[in-house]
Symmetry: C2
Subunit: 251 residues, 2 copies
């Protein structure tokens, strides 16, 4: 499993990903899922990947190769982020199809999902989630984030705090606690945790962090969030016994 | 979808359930998923249900009928909670199998899961989750709760605050905010929210509440939790730019 988040707010983009990969519970390893592409100076593009590792690696390799060989469509040639998503979707479907044909085991699943985020030229920055089928969706002002992988445990905190006006550093902290909730609940999501900040119209990465499991900051924010939540929990109003309903109990 | 929680701590049991049922997104209705059984004075048993509504209704009806007709095995005759879970599992599999045979549409899924909680005689109180296959699991001292239905959104808060020593009223509030997170994130989980408290060795329900969507207490605890979380969020330590890693950017 995997957990990746892309936040697209007024100030720019925040991307966060875990690094645990597993092929069965007895085959666990560490692979970064955040891929930054060296592109022409008019653009900056970052990929987040989830799903079958062979597929995601084949897709990333193809994206790099097309760029290097300057094929008619590549990450340096597309004019819009939506075109980049479309191009990525086609490569992804192509790679999955190839492995589907060679399918050996019936439990084999080559599917993969991606988020491509960044900015191209004068177009606004943004993020697209590319489904295994190759189609894609982007964010909205109401829901300025996308998730791939194990998305449910960490969603409530994003829904509460991520708005278009959220500052990039706040969004970064929010993603880190969203990641913390997910790591606590799903053993197949784990550190190192990568965090990347893209400030709009810069066409270069503003900040990049890679937090190991024993990173002091990651431990501090986890502890702090837990302590503050515990305090918050203790202040919750009690329900009043006078509103209890007598049960007929005669069922 | 559905969301039900059963907490089994030192002091007793807390059960919480939503009331939304849907057969497709255009067929949404309200059904309670908490079923209290009138039993002999040496026991108290409560059922929580998730899954196909026809199956869960057929199972509940069969449990009541067996009890009324005093069949060899029924909720009044079983000596242990694990026997009650086993008996429930057999009825559930039986009902599902019957509807599977009559299957018309290929998307038809008659499966259902249950939690049976309570206390029988001198045995300790407890809760069992009965899978669609009829087998079951109970809680542990490390994980003193069970969930059925849409369990992921509301799990992190249970993991943080539910311990064996948690008081029943605290556990009740924790379940209500777990339910709130789930209702926010999944449109197929909704009020009224039922909350039931069983204090151990009482053999009767201690407190029962049914909170509608506009219930003042439910609105207050939701608002209070959101405000306190927002305050907690603002106190989180910032990551330090000096630990940012220069990206090679040459990929």
């Amino acid at each position: 499993m995997t957990y990746c988040i892309a936040v697209s707010v007024d100030e720019g983009l925040v991307l966060v990903s875990d690094s645990r990969t597993n092929a069965g519970i007895d085959s666990v390893s560490t692979y970064g899922k955040m891929h930054v592409f060296a592109t022409t100076p008019d653009r900056k593009l970052v990929l987040l990947s989830a799903g079958n590792l062979a597929t995601t690696q084949a897709v990333v390799e193809q994206l790099r190769r097309d760029k290097r060989e300057n094929t008619p469509v590549n990450l340096n040639s597309v004019s819009y982020l939506s075109d980049a998503a479309d191009y990525l979707g086609k490569i992804s479907v192509d790679k999955q199809k190839r492995y589907k044909e060679d399918e050996g085991q019936c439990s084999f699943n080559p599917s993969a999902t991606f988020i491509i985020a960044g900015q191209i030229g004068k177009e606004a920055h943004g993020a697209y989630m590319v489904y295994a089928e190759g189609n894609s969706i982007t964010t909205s002002r109401q829901t300025p984030y996308l998730q791939i992988g194990e998305s449910k445990y960490g969603k409530p905190v994003l829904d509460r705090f991520i708005k278009m006006s959220t500052h990039l550093d706040e969004a970064g902290r929010c993603c880190l606690i969203s990641m913390d909730s997910t790591i606590r609940s799903n053993a197949s999501v784990g550190p190192p945790v990568e965090l990347l900040i893209y400030r709009k119209d810069r066409y270069s990465i503003d900040e990049y962090y890679c937090f190991d499991a024993d990173d002091e900051y990651l431990l501090t924010i986890k502890r702090c969030w837990h302590e503050e939540l515990s305090k918050a929990f203790m202040t919750l109003p009690h329900y009043d016994r006078k509103f209890a309903i007598p049960l007929r109990d005669g069922l």
